[in-house]
Symmetry: C2
Subunit: 330 residues, 2 copies
Amino acid sequence: MAEPEWESLEQCLEKHLPPADLREVKRLLYGKETRKLDLPGRAFESAAEGDFELQGYAFEAAEEQLRGPRTVRVGLVQNRIPLPADAPVAKQVSALHRRIESIVEVAAMCGVNIICFQEAWTMPFAFCTREKLPWTEFAESAEDGPTTSFCQKSTYYMEGNLGHPVFQTPFGRIAVNICYGRHHPLNWLLYSVNGADIIFNPSATIGALSESMWPIEARNAAIANHCFTCAINRVGKEYFPHEFTSGDGKKAHKDFGYFYGSSYVAAPDSSRTPGLSRTRDGLLVAELNLNLCRQVNDVWNFKMTGRYDMYARELAEAVKPNYRPHIVKE
Amino acid sequence: MAEPEWESLEQCLEKHLPPADLREVKRLLYGKETRKLDLPGRAFESAAEGDFELQGYAFEAAEEQLRGPRTVRVGLVQNRIPLPADAPVAKQVSALHRRIESIVEVAAMCGVNIICFQEAWTMPFAFCTREKLPWTEFAESAEDGPTTSFCQKSTYYMEGNLGHPVFQTPFGRIAVNICYGRHHPLNWLLYSVNGADIIFNPSATIGALSESMWPIEARNAAIANHCFTCAINRVGKEYFPHEFTSGDGKKAHKDFGYFYGSSYVAAPDSSRTPGLSRTRDGLLVAELNLNLCRQVNDVWNFKMTGRYDMYARELAEAVKPNYRPHIVKE
């Protein structure tokens, strides 16, 4: 496996492929080309000062007679932890708030309507250690904790864990499929059945485990459900004070592995943005014309052709303890 | 869009990328590298004589204490129609039989246990014309038609269209998810729930429509369901005697578009083989160690972590005519 410092697939292809081949490779890998967004110069200056990457793309849709374009800008944020995992809790949290604040300010300059941070963004990804302390101290009230207060300055934040709720916002219907939830196609489907235009997937995942699945799962979900999906991963390596194992029969270690960033947005027409860097903090701005969802639906009709009544019946049977799989033997 | 003669993604990357970068790009795109199979020289000679491509790869699994490796070789066949679509029906069918026979002979030399041809392999892909004649004449008895007789010489053939049956064969449990069925994640899931180790997806699909979805859907299915999937597409352009439209508001035409081949096998560990050519007939031989399915299941546990009882309930609700989507408003 390559070293973490290998920057990104896109950078490598752009460096080595002749323009005509590059165009064709991108078409095969990423579908219809996304237009580069013309973001303000001061946003790029601030990103350079803050040492994070800034990229912007627009997904376009055909003109319609009865509806104007319904454009919304989403921002995906990926970042390292600025302080080591054994620094005092309050210092870690406030350093993260400051770091995110500088990125959110750039997102605001870019006209972002909805911003999504990585999973467990207010702390190191400490679940892998299977220890409680001091990680439980990172827990906050979702009503009035310091992170909620911080977010109320500029952003929009909701959560839910009952079924597959979709949130009607002024910028479209959104849903949040957290981390591991991306592995189950039915999570994406049920958010879509409830009307989601955009499904966010804040994640924390490492190279050895999942890097070749990362470009597939959220993208397949956008295709299968005629919606936009936003896949966000954190960046860097996080060292913990005590050794722990990963339940994989290997030696104990002090880090979970290398979080490879590579956040991206995928569209219902099977196109996608390039990924953010594997190594740097970054903000990905994507302008989505939500009309594309219905337009692609009108071409492919998966919601019409899916035999959901049959699936529901078969699945209800399959979860019964006495279910006998439908196996035909000679 | 590139011309049909652009050969393949793999060939382009191999031509231009330095070895270390190529290795990393392949890791990101295709996961853990598949070992090249050492196929017999006379198989390659026959393939060259017959002017079709031959590639072979093996997916490996870890050794287990209680089970030996369960290896099976599958063959995926992609091909052009050898005669034009307005040639006499019987001549077209027998030319296809002869073409496939030459490929099947090579598959036998390669020790293939299960072979899968492309969708509607005994005819041009005439459904797009929405005409009946002469295409209905290609229909045959599945019990004793000439194609069934032909297949009974060397191969194994079964079909079904009721629910999601899985066929127990001496070479593992297999299922067939035909063509458009690949777009619905629940089809793959339900075959897997019924125990499929390998799901074949014989398809017929064209570049403008689906080429950037092709590498995503079957691969996601292998990942999500801890099984192998085999995606097969036909090759070339097929011209029909009468003009027809594709229901896309565009002018009538005599061809459906360019079938881009690119058949591949995907594994549960998110690795995959390279694709066959976009332009040439071909045979892809893949040796699968079916033990990999349970091994990956033991790492990721999607079948254990999927909340299938909840999905079944939510889906059963969602198909009711009076279903109210779960939308949270401010």
